[in-house]
Structure formats: C-alpha cells, structure tokens
C-alpha cells in the first residue's frame, strides 16, 4: 500500500464514468465500420468535448465528428476492412496474440491467459470460436465490465481494480503501441488514425492511472 495513496472516494469514483465511456467509445469505433447513421447520431447527439484534450488522437476524433462536414463513409469502410477484417492481408490485426506471440498467429498464449482472467471474474465467451478472447474489442469490453463492477464496491484495492491493473499492465499496454504503429503506417483515414492515437494515449494514461489504486 503506497503511503500517499489516493482517497478513492475523491480520486477514483468520480472519474469512473469518464473512463468507462472512453472504453465504450474506443470499442464502438473498432467493433464495426462506422455507418452513416452512427456518424450522424454521434455528430448530433454525442458530447465529445472532454476528449478534445486527450492528445492528438482526441483532437482528430473530435474534429472528425464535430467539426468536419460530413464524411465519405464508404472510403472509411474500406479502410476498416483493410486494417481489421479482410479479405486479404490484415494490415493491423487486432489480436494480442499477433503482437506478442512468436508466429503472428491467433490463439497463441495471450488468448489462453486472458481467457483465464475472464474466467476468474466469472465470465466466458457468449459464443466460442466466433472470436478469440484476446481480440481488442473483447479486452475493451472486459475493462468496461471491471469498471462497472468496481463502482459497486467501496474500498480501494477491490479485485475489480486489481483486475484492471492486471489487464492494463500485463496485457493491453504490452501490445497496443505496436498495434497503433501498424494502423498509423497503413492508413490515411483520419477516423482510424485518430482512433489509434486516442487508443494508444488513453491506454498509456490508464495504465499509469490505475496503478495508484491497486495493491
């Protein structure tokens, strides 16, 4: 326990919503190509003021939705496919196993490790084999789950905070920088460049931030 540990009532819980929504935003941008409807929804009803300050990525995303006039969604859709889905060679395959395993294949040791972590928190895949456990969308979903669960606790050092620390320091922070580089090296799309930069900055921030509250 650190001597200058923060007071969770003051420092952790107020930021909870913000952090959770950051993960939701990132997850949303990654989980499927941005449809015209979703773009309009966010443009008209979303409030993205707070991410303006989150580094270059935050600014790009903010401008993309709030400042720029309209977007050619089919161009960004093709970029999305080329980066994350295929067909063809994925330019930024969004699985931890790819970046940390030896052979750049799926279902390497990281997938087994995070599956165990999910299991220890009482979670499993809705449908096995539809997606590997270490896909970024699922790792982000898990972070959201941990944050939500932690809001019900009242002491610091809860296992949900420890879980976030584990996921961030032992997993996400170890591959997101390389993944970000692949996205930046392979697309001109402002949407996905912004996404990658925001993701990288936020994961880096959150990894350091959560350390203050875990044991």
């Amino acid at each position: 326990m650190r001597s200058n540990v923060a007071n969770p009532k003051v420092d952790y819980f107020p930021l909870l919503e913000l952090r959770k929504n950051m993960y939701i935003l990132l997850q949303k941008l990654l989980s499927q190509p941005l449809s015209k409807n979703d773009y309009i929804q966010i443009k008209n009803n979303g409030n993205l003021d707070v991410i303006k300050g989150f580094g270059e990525g935050g600014e790009i995303i903010y401008n993309f939705f709030k400042v720029d006039n309209g977007t050619n969604s089919s161009v960004h859709e093709q970029e999305y496919y080329k980066l994350f889905i295929g067909p063809g060679t994925l330019l930024a395959p969004p699985w931890e196993s790819i970046y940390r395993g030896k052979d750049r294949i799926l279902y390497d040791y990281p997938s087994l490790e995070v599956a165990k972590i999910y299991d220890s928190f009482g979670l499993e895949l809705v449908e096995r084999n539809i997606e590997a456990e270490d896909h970024l969308v699922i790792e982000l979903e898990f972070m959201i789950h941990l944050i939500e669960s932690s809001s019900k606790e009242n002491e610091i050092g809860s296992r949900f905070i420890d879980g976030q620390d584990l996921m961030l320091s032992q997993h996400l922070s170890k591959w997101i920088p390389d993944f970000t580089k692949d996205v930046l090296d392979n697309t001109e799309s402002t949407l996905y460049r912004g996404f990658a930069l925001l993701l990288n900055d936020f994961i880096s921030f959150d990894t350091a931030y959560i350390k203050e509250f875990s044991l």
């Binding site: 496919y81 067909p87 279902y107």
Partner: protein, 795 residues
C-alpha cells in the same frame, strides 16, 4: 501542454485533474448507440475450466500426396501443438505415416489472422478485390437468385464448378457436392481430367488398356535399379514413396534420377543424376531403345508373347510397312537412326551416359522405371508417357516383382465406401483445362476439342455463364496464362456470376461476386486417403469449432439445397459427421478388419497390412490366355491402331516418338525466348496452399533456379531480382544461381500467389503468368512445364 500529457508526465496533481474532469460541461456521451456483447456470465458447471490437453488424431485434406497422420493437441478448444505418427511399428508392411514440414506447420494455417471470416459481396469491379460484409442469409439468397436466373436464361449446361483441389478429401467436399446438388436440379457442365495427370491418364491406356499400371511399393525392395524419371517424392510426398525408396536402397537397389533439376529426391536418394532438357524425354527414350535393340538387350521372348508393334512381324493388320517401333528407331523409313549421338544433340545428355542408362536399365533384372507426373505435364506429354511404357515392355519389366510397367502407375489395393452421388443428367464433360475456352466460345467447341457426351458435330449447348469455385485456386492462379484468364473473368457479360469459397483471399478469390469463408479440415469431418501408394485411411476428425462465421462447403450447400427444394435428397438426412461414420461402417461391412467408428475416433488411422506385394499386370503376364490386357488386341500395344486411326500422325503418332513442340529447345521461338521454363512442386507448399504461411517461407523462399552459365551471361548474381518474361506476361522473382539445374533451363516453383503491382507485373513469382492455355494434342491437358522465356536483371 494538454491535460492528458501533464497527467502522464506527472506534472500535474491528481486534484487538478479531477477539478478539470469535474468541470467538463457534460460527461462523454455517444448518443445511445450500442455494441455487441462478447462476454457473458459463466454457466454453472461441475468441472473447472479445462486445463487438460486432449490429443486428437486427424489429417489434412488439402491436395497433398501424403494426407498423413496429424495429432492435434487441444487445450480449452484451441490447438496448441501438432505432432505426428509415432507408432512403434515402422516396417515394410506397416510404415509410419509421418507428416512433412507442411503438416507440422498446420497451426499457422488454421490460426492465420487473414482467414476469411464472414460472407462478403463484391463492391467495385470484378477482380478489384473490394468487398463488404453481408450475412449468410443474404449470401445464400443471392446465390440462389443468380443460379435460378442464369439457369432459366441459358439452361443448366451454363453451370460449371471449376477444377479445385484445396479440399481433396474423401467424402463431402464442395467439388463433389456441387455435382450432387446440380445433378438433382437439372444438371451442369462437368469436367474430366485433372491438372495433375491429364496426359498420363489418357495416354497410358493406349498401351495397356488401363492406367492402373502400378504395383505396391514394397515390391521395390526387389528392384536392382530404380529410375525416378521426373519423379520427386521427397518434396511431393507421393503416399509412402519415400519410405519404400529408402528400404529399396537398403536392400541394394541403385537409384538414378532423370530430371532437368537435381531435385531433393536426387540429392537425398540417388546414386546418379542424368540431366536432360525438358520436353526431350522421348529423344532420350528413343536412343535408349536404339541401344537396347542394337545391342540385343531387349527381351524378345516377352515382346513376341505379349506385345504388338515392336517389329514388322508383329503389327496389326492393314498397317503399311515401316511403322513399327524397330523401323522408327533404326531409321528405316525416315532415314534417321535414333542413336545416342542423335539424341545427345536434342536432350543434352551425353551419348555415353545414354548408353550407360540404357544398358543398365536393360540388364538390371528386374528394374523399375518410375515416371512422375512432371514429365507428362508438357506440350506433348502423351508421347513421354507412352515412351516410358515402351521401355518397360522391351525390357520385360511389366508384371514383374521389382519391375514397373511405367506410365501413370495408377495403383490402389485398398478402398473405403464412397458417399453416394447423383449422375449428371446432361452427361457432358469438358477437359478441365479448357474451362476458359468454354466461357469465351463454348458453343463452338465439339468432340474435336476433347468434349465427351456430345453428338457428332454438336457444340456445347451454351457458353459457361455461372462459376462455382469451391476450395480451389485454379480459377486464376493455377490455370494457364493468368493475364488472359483475368481479362476473360473481368468481363461480366461473359461469366455473369462467380461464387467462391476459400479459407483465404487467394488470387482466385479476388474474382468472386460472392465470397464465402470456408472452415478448415480441423473444423469438420472427412476421410483422408493418400495418392495411390499407401495402404491406409485416416479419419480427418473435427478438432475445434469453425472459426468466425466460416462454414464447410457441405454446410452452406445444404442451405442452398433447401432454397432449391432438394435438401432431403442432397443430405439424405446426414451431416458430415454422419457421412464419415457411414463410410466407416459401410467399409466395415465389406471388410470386418476395418475399425469401428469408436475405434477410428480414438486411433485416427487404419493401416491395412499385406504380407506380399501386389504387382501390376501380374495376372496378364502369368496367364495371358485368361487375362488379356484390356486393349483392342488384348496385347501391350506399343503400336496403337486406335491412335493410328485418328490420322494425326505428326502430333499423335501410333508409336511414341520424339515430337518437337512449339516451346521446346528446337523451336524457332528460342531466338526470341532462349530459356526453357519449368515449374516444380515445392516442398513448402501444397500446390498453392501455404503460400501465405511465414514458417514455410522460411523453409523455402520463392525463388527461381538458374544455371551459373546462363546467369553469368546475363550479369545476374545469386539473390538478384530478375525479370522473367515472354509474350504472355512478366514476373519479377529473386534468383538462386545453381548448378543443380541444366543450362538453358530455369525453374520457378509452382503455386505462388499472383501478386501484380501497378504495372501489372507479378511480384511474387507466379509461374502461370508465363504459361499457355494451349492444350496438349491428345488429352487436351495442361502443358505447364513447356514454356520459353527470357530473363534479365530487374531494374
């Protein structure tokens, strides 16, 4: 500096940060859009999460000669390791069936992140490679609609399933099930031949009446001399060939290889390499025959008893004088003695080496001249096949234990039950290599083009309008003249709809209108059998669930069958697993020694044991009276009257002859394109499968072999990127300068994925950019080893 950066660098206190975030006008809000959930609370179960590793025996079902035993080590539904056959017994009658480097790299195949995951539909021009994701429902509906529309407009003969061997499994592959589905709904245009063995399958029966000219390989331990003629089992893994060749060597057999390359088989097994130029095999064979006849080494008793056409006294009726083998070899009619000196000029092998080869083959009793399928994949490969059967006959090596009748060497003494299929009501088949012709001018094609099932003078009822390309890369990558094929397929007025299913986006998959994600053999049930030489069958077991939304061809064809109203007749109420079980149980009915379903699930492989070899044509030789050869004359037809009657004596002679071809070393075209180009089967791929496997790239990179002399002449050094070209296209490929290939010949291993740059130049080394679509004269087969090119250093 942004708030965020300051926090990161600890240059701002947490309190200040909290003040900032609390002071934001409103919380981060996205406006109410939801995301799919992948995680759920665990279901209550008795056991803990799987920490156990299960080992499940299975096999691959790509078009690999081995189809070996592969054991998947599975933990928590994921394959964490692959091992192979480690049975204690590894004997002559029961060898281990061990996987090669391809089998051992299967995890990188199934878990490649670039696997096709979702059904997709084309957006943009055909062949551009732009797709968007759709649901399976939309995919099946579209396929159904287009199939109905095209069938109504052009008739069922407009429907064609492209030759494909990515799933060469035993029971319910896309190729065979397309036939069943279309057979139930009016028919389709079928094909005959394969890209592997067209020339030899068609030509061998002109000598023996059948292509089943092989013996079981354990007979090779009785051979005194084995000549591997364009045969490279060390890389291709032709069933259990490698095991038995090693045993033969141990038993004292000499092994020679005849090949333009000093192949891995040569290096690993041979006592001597006899290099020749591609397409000149018949000149060498003619000269060997010359030596054997003039030195009285031929088996006259055998010839007179079993053969016709070897000399003037043993010819069919009504054939003019001078057409016998002997007359041809001795130059009685054309004035050219087919001597070693004559042959040396053509094939490049020195005359004294020809004499050595001929004498040793004739005098080693018995000797096995085993021809691979490379030599027949040429512009007049049929001659090369027939030539080998003639050599076997004049030396009396047919029907002998330790001998070999040559030709296609077809052999199989074991089998399993076949899944029922449906006959094609249309009954028309084209040679598979002519599929693009049937698109551009099918209605002009007749029996003359090798089409079977048409009446005299009749053309195809329609051009091909609908293509299903299921688990194959012969739509584009493996077919001849890729640039020409591309042009044809890009035209949406020619073929109106293309369905493709595959594991990856191959160069062929790029041309899909609907692109379907296929599962892999690990994710479904099948039965695996080797190419001929191997007395085993393997249950290819399902080891894990299909990834993403991938389905087997059988699964989605079932959905299509439902739409077409024939689901019951199509599936007969069975899933793939049911069919696998059915095959095993039916086989057991005929062969009680065959394991039960439960046993097969446990052991994975069944190995039949035979106490002694099975010799091809043994009956025909031991008791010819009661077992004539299935030829018109009942004899071994060195001279074939059927061929004579075709009246194409130059291109399709009645006895095998050296026939110079359009892109051979004697062609005028060598003035423009002086180098011969062949493409061998590389150990690191199975045809085009595994080209995207990084482990395999390490094991054998894609490079062209070139002789030192040719390289020096062109200022090319080892490792340089070269430009290889002819009138059909341009390829850039790094070169390996080596003396393991004959001067005047370059070799690009086949199967590399066509990867054009902006200028249309292939940058991966896909040989079919340079091959032709012109078929061989008799079989209408693919002549993919007969090409002329020039090579320069690439700029």
């Amino acid at each position: 500096m942004s708030i965020f950066k300051q926090i990161k660098e600890n240059s701002i206190s947490r309190r200040t940060f909290l003040k900032w975030s609390g002071a934001s006008t409103a919380p981060l809000v996205l406006g109410g859009i939801s995301t799919k959930k992948y995680l759920k609370p665990k279901e209550v179960r008795a056991e803990k999460m799987e920490d156990q590793v299960k080992v499940i025996p299975t096999c691959g079902t790509t078009n690999c000669g081995g189809r070996c035993l592969v054991k998947a080590h599975v933990k928590d539904g994921k394959i964490i390791r692959i091992s192979t056959d480690d049975a204690e017994e590894d004997s002559l009658i029961c060898p281990q069936i061990r996987a090669c480097i391809r089998g051992r790299s299967y995890r990188k195949f199934i878990y490649n992140p670039n696997r096709l995951k979702y059904p997709m539909k084309r957006v943009g021009k055909r062949g551009e490679g732009k797709f968007e994701r759709i649901t399976w429902e939309e995919a099946i509906n579209t396929i159904h609609k287009e199939t109905e529309r095209i069938t109504d407009k052009y008739g069922p003969a407009s429907r064609y399933s492209v030759y494909a061997s990515g799933n060469w499994g035993g029971i319910t592959s896309g190729r065979t099930m397309f036939n069943k589905l279309m057979g139930l709904t009016g028919g389709y245009l079928g094909y005959h031949n394969t890209y592997s063995s067209a020339q030899t399958s068609i030509a061998t029966p002109y000598t023996y009446g059948t292509g089943a000219s092989g013996s079981s390989l354990d007979s090779l331990v009785n051979s005194k001399l084995i000549i591997l003629w364009g045969h490279n089992p060390a890389e291709t893994i032709f069933g259990t060939s490698n095991f038995y060749l090693k045993k033969a060597k141990e038993a004292g057999a000499k092994i020679y290889v005849v090949d333009p390359r000093y192949s891995d088989t040569g290096v690993g097994l041979a006592d001597e390499w006899f290099p020749i130029r591609p397409t000149t095999d018949n000149a060498l064979m003619d000269a060997m025959t010359y030596v054997i006849i003039t030195e009285n080494l031929h088996d006259k008793k055998f010839l007179n008893k079993y053969c016709i056409g070897h000399d003037e006294k043993h010819m069919p009726k009504d054939i003019p004088e001078g057409e016998s083998l002997e007359s041809y070899i001795l130059g009685k009619k054309d004035g050219v003695e087919k001597s070693p000196e004559w042959a040396e000029k053509i094939c490049g092998l020195p005359a004294n080496k020809i004499r050595q080869l001929a004498r040793e083959y004739a005098m080693a009793k018995p000797a096995a001249l085993i021809q691979g399928w490379g030599p027949q994949r040429h512009m007049n490969g049929e001659q090369i096949v027939r030539g080998s059967t003639v050599l076997a006959s004049i030396t009396g090596n047919v029907g002998k234990n330790g001998g070999w009748a040559s030709g296609s060497g077809g052999f199989g003494r074991t089998s399993v039950a076949s899944v029922p299929n449906v006959e094609n009501p249309l009954g028309i088949t084209i040679p598979c290599f002519l599929y693009t012709d049937a698109i551009t001018h099918g209605t002009d094609m007749t029996a003359e083009d090798g089409i079977i099932g048409l009446k005299e003078g009749e053309g195809l009822p329609t051009n091909i309008k609908l293509l299903f390309n299921l688990a194959g890369n012969a739509l584009v990558n493996q077919h001849g003249d890729i640039n020409k094929t591309k042009e044809i397929l890009e035209d949406e007025n020619l073929v109106e709809f293309i369905v493709v299913s595959d594991v990856f986006m191959t160069p062929s998959a790029k041309f899909a209108d609907i692109l379907l994600p296929s599962n892999t053999f690990f994710e479904r049930y099948d039965i695996g059998l080797p190419w001929g030489y191997g007395d085993y069958a393997i249950l290819s077991q399902k080891v894990s669930e299909s990834l993403y939304e991938s389905k087997s061809d059988y699964e989605w064809l079932t959905l299509l069958a439902k739409k077409m109203g024939v689901e019951k007749e199509f599936t007969e109420g069975k899933t793939e697993k049911d069919w696998a079980r059915w095959v095993i149980e039916e086989t057991r009915k005929e062969d009680p020694e065959f394991p039960s379903w439960k046993q097969m699930q446990k052991q994975g492989i069944h190995k039949w044991k035979f106490e002694k070899p099975t010799i091809g044509f043994e009956k025909e030789i031991k008791d010819p009276e009661n077992n004539p050869f299935p030829t018109p004359s009942g004899k071994i037809e060195i001279f074939s009257k059927d061929l004579w009657d075709m009246n194409k004596h130059e291109e399709i002679p009645a006895i095998p002859k050296h026939v110079p071809v359009d892109e051979g070393p004697e062609s005028e075209l060598t003035k423009k394109y002086p180098l011969q180009l062949i493409g061998w089967h590389y150990k690191r791929r199975c045809h085009s499968t595994h080209d995207n496997n990084p482990w395999m790239e390490e094991a054998g990179k894609q490079e062209m072999w070139m002789n030192e002399i040719d390289a020096t002449e062109r200022n090319i050094n080892d490792g340089d990127i070269t430009k290889v070209f002819n009138d059909r296209g341009i390829v850039h490929i790094p070169v390996k300068v080596t003396n393991r290939i004959v001067p005047g010949v370059v070799a690009i291993p086949q199967g590399a994925w066509y990867t054009p740059n902006k200028e249309g130049i292939d940058t991966r080394g896909s040989i079919n950019v340079l091959t032709t679509q012109k078929p061989s004269p008799l079989a209408k087969g693919n002549p993919q080893h007969t090409n002329l090119v020039e090579v320069e250093k690439a700029q």
